[in-house]
Structures are given as structure tokens and as C-alpha cells.
Symmetry: C2
Subunit: 537 residues, 2 copies
């Protein structure tokens, strides 16, 4: 039986903005239905709370400190194994429909004599994906080159210098005037683009087109929606689906502005954070953010109905997740970047169609999972070898099938404030602004080289208001958590060119005539006698 | 003026087996003369006390945890920048004459569509060197493929299945019988090969041949002697140059066998260590080890005289170092692998011909230097850009020229006991047997994941006899040193595809039309007003 994978990702979707994760007013019936059919991993963490590095970790199954692409637009260095490489070795395709935020390592390819425009060069430059449709968003006139979506818009009569900017990222005011959708004061207005041609509808359609013609070769389709990421523009009717009463109160305390960690405090002062100090900002932005999520949910529902009709659900693993969250004004911040749950924790639902997984259907799994678990999960499900000397995540398949396994006790995530005002403010060298979170299920510790650490006790302080990073009573917890960070930092998979099994089974050098520390023939005879029968051949 | 570099390396030469570093009986007048003409860095540490990883660090300028080739014969992963890559970008050649211990990442190349036999594939597979002459040693009949030296021996009438094994690694007993030079009971006998055709003479000759025909293009020649590494076989007269009176007493205490760290204790029980418990082993082996060093010294003298005659000294930087040391029975161990100074500390002498370096000639520099400093030093001397987002070492050129610079306060080195009996004895997973030393000039701390750390106080205990790794009085020192390890482990250069300068000078996303967190046109106007004149173009 062909085993396929539909790997759905949203962009900037918080863990708690789904019906199934407890949001009181959002409507996500189709995603909730996925959770009922599969397992919802309720404590899932991305390896960096920002698109680029989070995705590079998700697509390589490796921590940021291992693949090195630690911020948006840092090229993934040539040579890193990607999902596509792992699947290729079992004859399966890794296909992209939507966003990856991948940036090609042109310099690295050229140094190795690889033409970036050759098929191999494109595979490398696209983070290992075969591009069915790439749609990264973020295409104002001076921005990235046009995507397939821009061509589609033009073909359908939505023209202009940048159709994406002019139609999908623009809104229509009550008087009919066209306004810039990037400006959040316009977040309550409908997109100029009709819903059926909007980014979310387009990506869902394109995904179904791919599946419809994919044939019998096994595939993993990465359907990667660019929403609910900014610009916060929703097409009708989603722009007005939610109102002020649906927006949850802000989560923040005055003390955070006064005694918070300087790295976080610095981020409270930038525009994407201060915007939320306007009384109307959260109402407008979050209502539309919720509308965008419900739009994604509707299209997931449409896809699932079609997959069921066409009898594809029985052999397709379905993953639903996000690349990071959004503060939405909580903790006096907007955007993401840092390690409060609003930013670093994501939804993760996996539906394994195998009968062995019936035992876990509809359950919630509270073990700590990480985005780097997805490559091993996909490879494992599709019957490939999980190369654990390269992959730093772990397959979720045993968890999905109710098997007893020892599991990780800490989740890790990394950030880099080297591009933020905090770098200069703290006088930190650019290459030394990486910080790392270790979360053991209760204590969230952040190691900040050259600066004080942070520590939050999520049992006593579930909203993460009080930083205990320098509190004298918590030195033991900090030392323990620092130990986790140290073992993680000096652990992992850097010996990517040789497996553990190779090392464990390697015959002695003696069999190759290399006699290190041998004194005389008696030593040789002794070593000879100790060889196994296979080694004496 | 063309600037060239002659980068000489010995294999397994201890820091303290030179006249200039204080050995009372060894004769190394020509190496001592280099020290008088340049700077001797007396506290120089390799990044792993074993050939393969040490050399991969030396040739990449990066710690083992960064390049990942953490033991002998682990391929250096495709894509790592090498000395050859750095020099290529300034039109200079990195040329090999001797040993590198490089193993090609064939799988990695094939995955990227690079033919390992193409010029690019060979460059990658040879750790970035252009091979003038490769001589890795270790060629018993079942071992590695023959080198240039084997061909040379055959041409000169030294035939057999493996001329290297049969002539250079064989010895002649008093009765004329031929014996196996790998067996250390024969270490006092002369090699079967005449001195002028021995490995050391051959490599020196080949180096001079290269230099003689190199022309005006700048080059860095890596003259990499395979001696005094085992097999401990010296040609006459070097096999009998030193006697029992020249051999220093062994450095070890009974307590080390009883209360030493289990990783070290396990290494005391293997053949390459227990051999030294024979009363005659050190006498035989060390006398010949010393003869091999003096042989290297004589050939260095011959080369220096020739370079002077041919007026090449004035534009050639000369480096003399080793890839690691040898316990030679000290601390109840043989070979290398671990972090006592006998194993991890190496000689390092640099002669900078520039007039600016006159101020330091003949001096001894006690700052902590590392083998990863050599690539930046070579690139810097030759006028290239030191890519400090890739290179983790630092150029020694400012030190050679007496400039005031802030310098490192800790040296680091790594080992992996995953191939040693200690792994099974301690029940440690194969991928988690890496240990790391941090040495701050006084305290030598070894972080051992899953095991107790080690700590030695080299001020109170210069011979490193007493492990304070669990002593209750030294918790503060351990915590401080562990902090160094943590900052090192989570530091370094993993963002190899983007420079710090790029990050520091990157214009705001706003200039590309990406308006994150903008509320209205007033926000846009404010951001516009803050742009520098260059950004508004």
C-alpha cells in the first residue's frame, strides 16, 4: 500500500487559537475533527519562534545550533540533509505547496561547483522540496520575486505591478476606496480579493490539484499556508466573522515592563509591540486573525471531505501544525521571536490512518514534542530509515500507536536577537546574541550568553509573568536547568558522516595489520585468539 | 611581493620533546633555531588529541563540535570551508606534501551530484588540499591504498607486496634477519630502509621539489611528516642516537590507577598503555622516538639552509607544530586521546619574515593558542580576509608583530571515547561519548556528559596527578569552568552562510515595503523620516 503524508502548516498560528485547544470563541470544527481522528500533542514547541529558523529545523529535523540558519533569510548551508533527502532514499517525493521561507546557499553551491539553476541546485536551494507551488507571501513591489500565486492572479484578471500586493494585501473601505492592507488600522476591512481567489483558497486548491494527479508514487505534500501571518487581511466574509466580544483579554502585567529581562524589555519598545498599546489594535487585529484561522479551517474541511470522497484518507498521514505563534499584545509584545508560550508553542495534531493507531484516536498527548520530530515521523511512517546520527528529533509513530517509549524530558528552542535593538543596547557582539530555552514541563529556563538567564515556573506562574532568573531562592533550579542546556548544547548530531552502528560494529585495526602498542609475537597471537570468527576471514 | 607559507607538522610529537621547550637530552638545533628567529607559543593546544579530528580542526580553523569529524576516518562533511577554500578566494594554493588523515565524504558528494573523482570532488575529498604528495603512513598490506611513497620505493628498487611495510616499517636484527617494525620489542633496531629513502627524508625532498618549481603564484605548502608517530622505526643512525640515560623518568603515581576518572582508568588497561608497564618498553620506544625527532630536525635544517641559499626565507612564513602528543607511559597510558599536557599540548613555532615581526623574534609567548589559529594566521599573513563567521580560531599575526590584543582566556579540546572500551564499561550511548576540556591556564576542567567531570589544578599540581572533579572544596572552580564550557558549547560559528557585517548593515524591512506592526500612514511617515539618506534611494 502506498503511504502518503499531507503535512499542513499554518504560519504564525498560536497553540491556543483553536477550538480543540480551548479557545472559547474561535470556530475551527474541521481542525477539531482532525484532533478527534488522531492525537493532539498539546505541548509542542518549535525550535525557533520565527519563520526561517523554525522551518529549517522542521525540514531538517535538526536544532538551529546544528543547521545554523538562525534567522530569516540566512541560507540553509549546502550539504544539510532535508526531508527531501531522507525521502528520496526511499523513492518518495517531498513536494511543496506554499511557504518555506527557504533561502538558497548560492555561495556554498558555487564553491562546490553546483549550478544553482540545475535540478540539483534547485533541490538544494528549495530546502530539499520539489516545488509544485511556492507562495511565501511578503511580496510588496520591492520585495521577493513573484510567486506562482502572482501569475495566477494575473491570469484571473487581477493585475497591477504586484497583484498580490494590490489585491490580496489590499483592502476595500466602506466608500469603495482601496487601502494598504499592511496598515493595521485597516485590519477590519475586507480584502480586495474575492475569497475563492485568496491565498488560502489558492493553496488548498493547488494542493488538491497535486494530489489528484500524483499517481502511485508515494509523496509527502507540504501544504504550507501563509496565513494567519501578517499582513492581517482577510477576504469577506472572514473579515467580519469575529467581533470585540470574541477577543480574549490581554495577558500582561505592569511589572513585566519594569523588571522583565532586558532582552524582552527591549522588544516591548519596538513598533510591532507598541502598536498593541492602542486601545483598538487588539480588537481589530485579533478579530481578523481569528477570521483567517477559520478560513484555513474551512478549506481544511473542504480538503478532508474530498480526500474522503476519493478514498485517500485511509493511506494518508495528516499532520497539522504551525511554525510559531504570535504575542498579539500579550507580555507587552507583538510578533513572536521569544519564548513565552504565545510565541514558541504551536498546535500539533497527527492523524495516523493505520489500524495500529486506533488505540490513540481522539486522545491528547502531553509529552513534550518538538517540530524536529516531524521529519523522523514522516520517514518512519513511510517506511524509511530514521537516520538518528543526523536527525535530532524523534519519530512520533510509537506514541501514535500507544507504544511504551522513554521520552525526552526537556524541549529546546533558540532565538537570535542580533538583528534587534537589544544587541546594541546590551553591547553584545553580533555573533553572540543567540539564546536558548529549555523547558522541562514546569521550569522554563533561558540561557543568555553574557546576560542573566531567565527562569519561569509555569506551575506557580502559568502566565509566565515573573522572571526568577536572578531570584536567590531559585539557584538550584537554575543550576539544574543550566545542566540541561549544557548537555543539549554539547550533544546532538554533528558527526553526520558516520553512523553509530558503523562505530559499534567496526572491526579492530588489528585486522588491518595496524599493531598499536604490540610488543612481540605473543601479543599478536593473543589478539589473534580474541578475534571473532567473522573477523578472521 | 609574493608571500608564501611553509606549514610543517609532525605527527605525535609531544610539546616537551624539543631542546627549545626544555628537554634535557634531545638534540633539535634546527627547530630551536626556528624558535630563535620567530615566536615559540609555549601553551598551544590541539582541538582533539588524535590525528583525524585534530587535523580537520587545523585545516578548517573550527572546533570539532563544529566540523563534526570527531574521530579518525570520520569523513569531513562536504561543504565545510577548508584552508584551501580560504586561500583559493585570494588566488593562493594550499598544497599537500605528506599526511592529512583526510577521509572523503563520498556519500555527501554523491548526494549533491559531485563526482568524487572530478577535480572538485578531489579537492573536497582531500580536505581542500591540492595533492603534491600524500603520505599518510599506516599502509600494512590490508590497509589503505598505496601512496606516492610506495611508488617511489618501488622505483628505487625497494620492492615487495607493500614496499612501505617491507622496508620502511621493517627492521634488521643483528643477525641480518628482517623483523616487523610494528612490534615494539624491535624498536631499538634500525629500519631496513636507508635513511636517505626513509619517510622523513622523502617528504622533505618532495617539499623542496615543490618549492623549487612553484613559480610566482603564492602557495602554502603543508609539509606534514608522519613521524615520530608509530610504527616506532628509525633508520640508522637515528635508531641508536639515544640510550637509556636520555630517557626521562616516567610521570605517574599509583593513585592514578586507583582513584583516577573511569574514562582515563579504562584507557590504562588497554594494550597501548599496558605495554609501558614492561621495564624495557619506555627505554626502547622513547630512545627511538627521540631519534625520529632528531631526524626530522636534521631535515628541517637541510631545508632551511636551502631556503636561505635560494633567498626564499625573506618571504616565507614558517610554522612548525604537531597534531598531538604521546603519553609514552606517563599517567599509565600510551598513545594520546586524552587531555593531559603530554597528549593535548603541542609545540608551536611561527617565524614571520616581515620586518614588523622583528620586535618579537626569539621570544616565548605564553598566551593560550590553539591549532585552529593556524588557518586565520595563514590567511591573514597572505593578505586574505579572515572570515570570522566561519573561522573559530584567531590570527596570530598581531601577536607575532607585538600588537596589543585582547586574547582568549580558555583553550578547548575534544575527545570521543565511543570507540574505546570505556563506552561499554560506563554504559554510555555511542553518540554521547564526546568529552571536552577547558583550560584557562591554571584549571583544566573536563566536561563528561553523563559522568563526573574532571578538574586539575596545574598550579598546585603541574603534573596533573590529582583529579578534583568531585572534591567538595572545588565546587566553585568547577562551576566557573563549566560556565566556560557552556558558553563555548553554545557559541562558535554555525551561521556560516551569513556574515556579522551583513547583519549589522542590513537595511530595515521597511525599505522593502514590509510594514510589520504599522498602524497608519503616520507610522509610515515616521519610519520614512528615520531612514538614512542611503536607505531612501
Amino acid at each position: 500500500m502506498t503511504k502518503n503524508v499531507l503535512f499542513i502548516m499554518c504560519d504564525q498560528l498560536r497553540y491556543d487559537y483553536l477550538g480543540c485547544s480551548g479557545h472559547p470563541s474561535i470556530k475551527t470544527p474541521h481542525i477539531d475533527a482532525l484532533a478527534k481522528r488522531g492525537v493532539r500533542f498539546e505541548r509542542s514547541y518549535v525550535q525557533s519562534p520565527i519563520c526561517g529558523p523554525s522551518r529549517m529545523s522542521t525540514y531538517t529535523g535538526r536544532y538551529v545550533r546544528s543547521h545554523g540558519a538562525d534567522f530569516n533569510n540566512v541560507p540553509l548551508r549546502v550539504g544539510e540533509w532535508t526531508l527531501g533527502d531522507h525521502l528520496k532514499s526511499i523513492g518518495a517525493r517531498a513536494v511543496l505547496c506554499g511557504k518555506t521561507h527557504a533561502r538558497a546557499d548560492i555561495e556554498g553551491m558555487e564553491r562546490l561547483g553546483i549550478d544553482p539553476k540545475s535540478p540539483k541546485g534547485k533541490h538544494i536551494g528549495e530546502a530539499g522540496f520539489e516545488v509544485w507551488d511556492r507562495l511565501d507571501g511578503l511580496h510588496p513591489p520591492k520585495g521577493k520575486s513573484p510567486s506562482h500565486y502572482n501569475d495566477y492572479l494575473r491570469k484571473n484578471g487581477f493585475d497591477g505591478e504586484s497583484p498580490w500586493q494590490d489585491w490580496a494585501a489590499s483592502v476595500v473601505d466602506h466608500d469603495g476606496s482601496i487601502k494598504n492592507g499592511w496598515l493595521n488600522e485597516n485590519a477590519h476591512l475586507p480584502a480586495r480579493i474575492p475569497e475563492e481567489h485568496s491565498e488560502t483558497a489558492y493553496s488548498a486548491n493547488r494542493a488538491m490539484e497535486f494530489i489528484g494527479q500524483a499517481g502511485d508514487d508515494p509523496w509527502c505534500l507540504h501544504l504550507s499556508f501563509i496565513k494567519p501571518h501578517w499582513p492581517i487581511v482577510a477576504p469577506a466574509p472572514y473579515h467580519e466573522m469575529y467581533g470585540p466580544r470574541d477577543v480574549l483579554p490581554v495577558v500582561r502585567e505592569d511589572a513585566e515592563r519594569e523588571t522583565g529581562h532586558p532582552i524582552y524589555r527591549s522588544n516591548q519598545d519596538v513598533r510591532h509591540s507598541t502598536m498593541y498599546n492602542r486601545p483598538d489594535a487588539r480588537q481589530k487585529v485579533i478579530a481578523t486573525y481569528m477570521g483567517l484561522i477559520t478560513q484555513v479551517d474551512d478549506h481544511i474541511g473542504r480538503m478532508m471531505a474530498w480526500l474522503e470522497e476519493t478514498d485517500r484518507l485511509k493511506d494518508t498521514l495528516i499532520i497539522f501544525t504551525s511554525d510559531h505563534g504570535d504575542y498579539l499584545g500579550d507580555h507587552w509584545m507583538g510578533e513572536k521571536l521569544y519564548f513565552h508560550d504565545q510565541s514558541v508553542r504551536v498546535p500539533l495534531i497527527v492523524v495516523d490512518p493505520s489500524p495500529e493507531a486506533d488505540i490513540t484516536r481522539g486522545t491528547v498527548d502531553s509529552r513534550l514534542t518538538e517540530a524536529i520530530d516531524l521529519v523522523p515521523t514522516i520517514v518512519d511512517f513511510m517506511g524509511g530509515e530514521v537516520r538518528d546520527h543526523i536527525l535530532e528529533g524523534r519519530s512520533l509513530v510509537p506514541l501514535l500507536r500507544g507504544q511504551e517509549v522513554e521520552w525526552r524530558t526537556c524541549a529546546f528552542s533558540e532565538a537570535d536577537y542580533g538583528r534587534s535593538p537589544a544587541r546594541k543596547k546590551l553591547g553584545q557582539p553580533t555573533n553572540d546574541c543567540r539564546i536558548v530555552m529549555a523547558f522541562d514541563g514546569r521550569w522554563k529556563y533561558v540561557h543568555c550568553p553574557g546576560q542573566n538567564p531567565m527562569l519561569f515556573d509555569l506551575e506557580a506562574d502559568p502566565q509566565e509573568m515573573t522572571d526568577l532568573g536572578t531570584h536567590p531562592n531559585f539557584a538550584d533550579e537554575r543550576a539544574r536547568m543550566q545542566g540541561h542546556v549544557l548537555n543539549w548544547a554539547y550533544g546532538g548530531c554533528n558527526r553526520v558522516t558516520q553512523t553509530d552502528a558503523f562505530i559499534e560494529n567496526k572491526p579492530s585495526e588489528f585486522t588491518r595489520g595496524i599493531l598499536v602498542g604490540f610488543w612481540d609475537d605473543a601479543d599478536v597471537a593473543e589478539a589473534q585468539a580474541q578475534l571473532t570468527p567473522e573477523q578472521t576471514v
